[in-house]
């Protein structure tokens, strides 16, 4: 940041050199969020993916597996609706909605504000459902400990190749709706292969939030229970 203040006369023109990374502010806030979460002993999980891929369903399934629901909280990011929040509420966990309005992703600032509003004492696991979007959340880390991207069989085989960043930046890729694989004529292994092409270090787990298959593996990979 340029520290000194110039004092020019009327009509003069000056160049101010900034050389400032725009996304840096978000990164700093994300680090702040992380510190706050660590101090409270909360493990935060950012759940990303397209609209309809099964983010809310996966969170619901993971809550069902959790043996102490009073220690779970959820932040739901959405442009304008509270539908997901109502769904989560039924599971008897703490939940707060973040409406992003015009923004296509959650950012560390919005999440930081929500963290301060949510009563996090005693909470062990915090799920953050990101806005349904495969593009923007990749560039805006929130400070979560783990990033999960949910991709569903119904999206076809090529999502990971079309949207590599979100996979490169994730810890776990969940291939959901495998119960529909046969009907869709799509091989989940092909999707997994495409994930590994762009993100070889990502953990790939196949699930069905309908039958519950694979959800336990996700919980294990996340280190939550």
């Amino acid at each position: 940041m340029s520290g000194e203040v110039v004092s020019p006369g009327e009509g003069e023109v000056f160049d101010i050199e900034l050389e400032e990374e725009l996304l840096e502010a978000n990164r700093r806030l994300a680090e702040e969020n992380r510190r706050m979460l660590d101090d409270l002993g909360v493990k935060a999980i950012d759940v990303m993916g397209s609209i309809g891929s099964g983010k809310t369903s996966l969170i619901e399934r993971l809550i069902e597996l959790h043996d102490r629901r009073e220690r779970v909280a959820v932040l739901c990011g959405d442009l304008t609706t509270t539908i997901d929040m109502e769904r989560i509420k039924r599971h008897g966990v703490k939940v707060l909605q973040i409406n992003t309005g015009k923004e296509c992703h959650l950012d560390a600032n919005l999440v930081g504000k929500a963290l301060r509003r949510l009563e996090l004492k005693g909470v062990e696991t915090l799920f953050i459902e990101n806005v349904g979007n495969l593009i923007c959340p990749a560039e805006f880390p929130l400070g979560a400990h783990k990033r999960v991207v949910v991709v569903s069989i119904t999206e076809g085989e090529y999502t990971p190749l079309k949207h590599p960043y979100i996979f490169m930046d994730a810890d776990i890729a969940v291939i959901n709706k495998i119960d529909l694989a046969q009907a869709m004529g799509i091989n989940p292994d092909k999707v997994a292969e495409n994930v590994r092409k762009v993100a070889p270090d990502v953990d790939v787990i196949k699930t069905s939030c309908k039958t519950g298959e694979g959800v336990r593996d996700v919980a294990e990979a996340l280190g939550i229970r």
Binding site: D15, I16, E19, L22, E139, P200
Partner: protein, 122 residues
């Protein structure tokens, strides 16, 4: 995709800089945009125009220098520009496999969005 939020971040940052120095107008804003960011320069310019209607920013020009991407291969050590998929539906869709050996690559450069300079009029 998030050209709108990036444009509003630029507008906010530049307004702040102008008022800090007591400038009357912002003439020019120069940014460096990595070509591997998820921001389309044309859409960014459009959003900037829409958002810069404030008297202090009106008529200011947003100049975008695109910074080429650079990747490195984990297997064979290749370092250079990624290859791009020929798909008009995806603006600049880089292929994240090595152009030499097809192994996965890491991004070294091209994901930055830097406000490099603002020109202020007093």
């Amino acid at each position: 995709m998030h050209e709108f939020s990036v444009a509003s971040m630029i507008v906010e940052r530049v307004k702040g800089e102008a008022s800090k120095h007591g400038a009357r107008k912002v003439r020019r804003v120069e940014i460096k945009l990595g070509e591997l960011t998820l921001v389309n320069p044309e859409q960014l310019k459009f959003n900037y125009m829409v958002l810069s209607q404030d008297p202090i920013l009106r008529d200011s020009e947003l100049i975008i220098e695109v910074i080429p991407g650079e990747v490195s291969c984990r297997e064979c050590g290749f370092r250079g520009r990624p290859t791009y998929r020929d798909d008009p539906a995806l603006h600049l869709a880089p292929i994240f496999s090595c152009p030499v050996c097809e192994s996965p690559v890491e991004v070294i450069k091209g994901r930055e969005i830097v406000i490099s300079r603002v020109t202020l009029e007093f």
